[in-house]
């Protein structure tokens, strides 16, 4: 963690926006991470946190203002207050993946013929964790941009609640933009079944994945391997090795968050469904 940037600094997209910051009693900080603006105020015995989310999910702004003149945060709508008996003046901003699986959907389905395999790159939104003290105690967790809910299952009576992410299911990494508040996942699909796989909707189990940062600033998750053996929507899920994401295209990486749920052994899951008719 480097020194606190100066007031009103605009950071390059490759800069780490997470890490520990010092917010002395009586002062406040403001951060802009993509569409999310976050205010943190430290007063005697209390932390106050407020946030606002803009309309543009593609916004790549990165700003830090520390100290920031925020006035009385209590006047902001939705401000959260946390009491603290400790004297800690450090707040830690941490990045993590979504708290549910993300379902990617493409308007132009990608077809994977029997016997073929492909690596598609998809991106998913990040969550911001605000922690304080040592060891870090979680104060709140905020999505940088709240994705829409979506239903993933064969019908409306059976399935799982996930987040929706519209994507193009790109197969060339250079076409996937680098955004500071989204993580890229390399999903390798092996179609061992006898039928064609039309990749319309795909469930990426991000809660099982670790998060990394590559030297070019791109955020990566662990790789995912889906092996489809039968003609239904179920696959065997295997996760890539720790520390080598991006199907080896990420180069040197550093882990910045572990998985929310530790995966246990091989998992069979429903990974693909068509759109509801």
């Amino acid at each position: 963690m480097g020194e606190n940037p100066k007031r009103g600094d605009v950071m390059a997209t490759s800069v780490e926006w997470w890490g520990r910051r010092r917010v002395p009693v009586g002062s406040a900080g403001r951060w802009r991470i993509g569409p999310l603006t976050l205010w943190v105020q430290r007063i005697e015995g209390e932390w106050r946190i407020a946030h606002e989310t803009g309309d543009d999910p593609l916004d790549v702004s990165l700003e830090e203002e520390l100290p920031a003149d925020v006035g009385d945060l209590l006047l902001k709508e939705g401000v959260a207050r946390f009491v603290t008996a400790g004297k800690s003046e450090e707040v830690a901003l941490a990045a993590s993946l979504a708290d549910r699986s993300v379902v990617t959907s493409s308007q132009q389905p990608l077809s994977v013929p029997p016997g073929e395999e492909v690596t598609v790159y998809v991106s998913s939104p990040l969550w911001l964790r605000v922690e304080t003290g040592k060891p870090g105690r979680l104060l709140c967790e905020i999505p940088v941009f709240r994705p829409s809910d979506t239903w993933f299952g064969p019908d409306t009576t059976e399935g799982e609640l996930c987040y929706a992410s519209r994507t193009f299911h790109r197969v060339r990494l250079e076409e996937v933009p680098v955004r500071p508040h989204r993580a890229t996942t390399a999903v390798k699909i092996k179609n061992r079944a006898k039928s064609m796989l039309a990749l319309e909707r795909m469930q990426v189990p991000v809660t099982h994945l670790a998060l990394y940062r590559a030297s070019d600033g791109r955020l990566w998750t662990q790789d995912v391997l889906f092996e489809r053996a039968s003609d239904d929507d179920f696959v065997a899920l295997r996760l890539g090795g720790r520390g080598k994401p991006g199907a080896a295209g990420a180069g040197e990486v550093k882990q910045i968050a572990g998985p929310r749920i530790q995966p246990s052994g091989n998992i069979a899951m429903r990974a693909f469904t068509s759109l509801f008719k």
């Binding site: 959907s105 809910d149 239903w151 009576t157 609640l161 509801f276």
Partner: protein, 284 residues
Amino acid sequence: MPKILTAIYEWLQTEQAHAVVRAAVVVLIGLLLYLIVRRRLLRRKAVSPQSMMLRKAIGFVILAVTGLWALHELGLKMGVLLGAAGILTVAVGFASQTSASNVISGFFLMAERPFSVGDLIKVGETTGRVLDIEFLSVKLRTFDNRLVRIPNETMLKSEFANLTRFPIRRVDLEIGVAYKEDVSEVRRILLEVADKNPLCLDEPRPFFFYRGYGDSALKILFGVWATQENYFEVHTSLYLGVKQAFDRAGIEIPFPHLSLYAGSVTAPMPVRLVDTEKASAASS
């Protein structure tokens, strides 16, 4: 020794006192057993109708056996008691046909399992959360915090809807727009409103249904899917969002129109423009 203590001591030596003590012990053991079984069953937190009924049936059987055993220890002849109970059962049976019907209906409901405690159900005009499922009735708590008791027989006979059986539900909006509006533009705006609301499910896709020509408006049904927990929030936020989006786009949500037509034979009705008269009077 005082006389009263002597009398008590002498009474305790009698067979009658022994019977009372035995009956008291039986009652204590029975109550203890009832409390233990009840606590064990409550710990399971099962809320299906079967488990609710089973809990109550087990408790009832333990208390009944305890009572009968205690009476037996007190010297009551069980044969006489059961004979009397038989006659009483016939009498009570005639008098409680409705209750018996409710109990039997309760067993059918248990077998069918159409809802559990905590489900939101709608019976006739009543909508509420299931609080309790008993031998005779189902108890609901309505949204305005009233307790509604519905006899099991009614539940079995009437049509009811379990609103929370499935994890997601469609929120239906009845919308009317003026005849002059472009329906495809209205459709685009509605889909955009749903798309911007993160609580509206992206999939299943929102449902746009053109219901036809109404008296005063083009009638549209717009259905958006949401989780059970978010149903009411989505309902309200969508109506607000649609109104704001229509206002921004200048799309009219018309009031009911009433055209007066006096027929071709009747002479046209005279119309007087009040504001124009006032304006001309003021200028002259």
